[in-house]
Amino acid sequence: MIEAPEHHARRGSALDAMVTVVVLLALWQGVYGYVGDAAIAPPLTAVQHLAAMLATASFWDHIMATLTAFAGALALAAVLGTLLGLVFGIRRFAGDVAEPVLAGLYSVPKVTLYPMILLMFGLGMGAKVAFGLIHGVIPITLFTLSAVKAINPVLLRTARALRLSQFETIRTVLAPAVLPEMVTGLRVGFSLTLLGVLIGEMFASQKGLGFLIVNGLSLHNVKQTTAVILMVVLLAIAANGSLLWLDRRLVHRGE
């Protein structure tokens, strides 16, 4: 009985997504028609060029360089952010001390710090991972922190009344209660980590997708720039889509 409207809504949103894609492609083609070959490649050419690049081994090297740095940074950001968020959420005083500082760091242009990180880690994987990490760890911490703070105190008092150990409390009460918010934090942290890694590659790197974009610009290889940007956008949308799906599943389970 509930199936029907749900199904209908999903079909509606699929249609919306399709219309959006068509409008964006038309817009892209329109921009191409206006600025011409020197600045941007049209959608079809970009897709063909991307397909051709995907057939070469060196392009996969660049993809893997970006993905490795990204995966490392995201894993570190997730672990560190969750731990910090839990600690600051449970210890209210420490949380109140830290939260405005973290929120301040969140909205500051952290790009300016990249030269410092380069000086510390040298050119290469370490700097990229560190830079991605400082972008991603703050939102994950903040989301986890606010999730722990928003937990119904009755749940924690029940855990105490049942004499659960700290570990058991975290496993059976805290973790399930904060999971949906943490996935949201992970989604925000994910996109900022990717942003950090790509900016790092665009500024100073010899490898990776960010490098290829800037490299294409300086070689006036418009097709390469456009195709790699398309690749990054597709990657981001795919990852975001799967996290959104996870988000929805966890939230539904919670209800």
Partner: protein, 254 residues
């Protein structure tokens, strides 16, 4: 209130302590002066640069670019927010776009913008608006959603005209949310524009930092970093305090 004060003092103590530790590590040579200079030297270098006026041109360029991007973000975001709010079908249709929009690292478009508009401030302004416009738009829609129905019905009962309804009811109700949008748009404008300048530009604070890095001039580089981070933090804190006041007043009215 006393707890609030204890929290503030603890925070201050931690921050000062962190700076002191950094200073000690740099002075004792545990951190090589090639990678980090002591905080006190950064401040001295910054004072000298501000005094001599050597960074004035870059400051003017960055601030004017941010001001233009912020103004455009606010105006365009406001207009789009009102328009989309008036058309529920459109706002539902935009959902999939907005949901994935924020996950796309907009900076990758920057070289494209440069290729399209040339190496001037226009690509920077576009980059600064890339997140500001949707943030302002969503805040506007959020604010319009939160206007109590009762107030709008009261306006109708009093035969208020459209303009008077907006001036007397819609705006006062929505202002705290609009303010949140402005705050986000400002932060995004700074982040986008300084990052753009940093990667590829002919001037501005971000460019000056990258230039100093390339020239191994770490005194200038760290002084500029200190300036940018300090300034943006101060701006954000001011707006945050202001926002808190607006929100409290709003709650008081309810």
């Amino acid at each position: 209130m006393t707890r609030q004060r204890a929290v503030t003092l603890t925070r201050l103590a931690w921050l000062l302590g962190a700076i002191a530790v950094l200073e000690a590590l740099c002075r004792s040579g545990m951190i090589s002066p090639l990678s980090l200079i002591p905080p006190s030297e950064m401040a001295v270098a910054l004072g000298g640069m501000l005094w001599s006026g050597e960074m004035t041109a870059d400051m003017i360029q960055t601030f004017s670019t941010v001001a233009i991007a912020l103004t455009l973000s606010i105006v365009i975001g406001l207009v789009l927010g009102v328009a989309v709010h008036a058309l529920p079908r459109l706002s539902r249709g935009l959902d999939p776009l907005l949901a994935s929009y924020y996950s796309i690292p907009t900076f990758v478009f920057y070289p494209l913008f440069v290729a399209i508009f040339g190496l001037n401030t226009i690509p920077l302004i576009v980059l600064g608006m890339a997140f500001g416009v949707p943030a302002m738009m969503m805040s506007t829609m959020n604010g319009l959603d939160r206007i109590p129905r009762v107030l709008l019905r009261t306006a109708k009962a009093h035969h208020l005209g459209r303009i008077r309804t907006v001036a007397l009811i819609v705006l006062p109700c929505a202002v705290p949310y609009l303010f949140t949008g402005v705050k986000l748009a400002l932060a995004y404008a700074f982040i986008g524009i300084i990052a753009g300048e940093f990667i590829l530009a002919s001037g501005g604070l971000g460019h000056a930092i990258a230039y100093a890095y390339d020239g191994f001039d770490s005194r200038t580089m760290y002084a500029l970093m200190l300036f940018v981070l300090g300034l943006v933090t101060a701006l954000n804190m001011t707006l945050h305090a202001w926002e808190g006041r607006l929100m409290r007043r709003r709650i008081g009215h309810d």
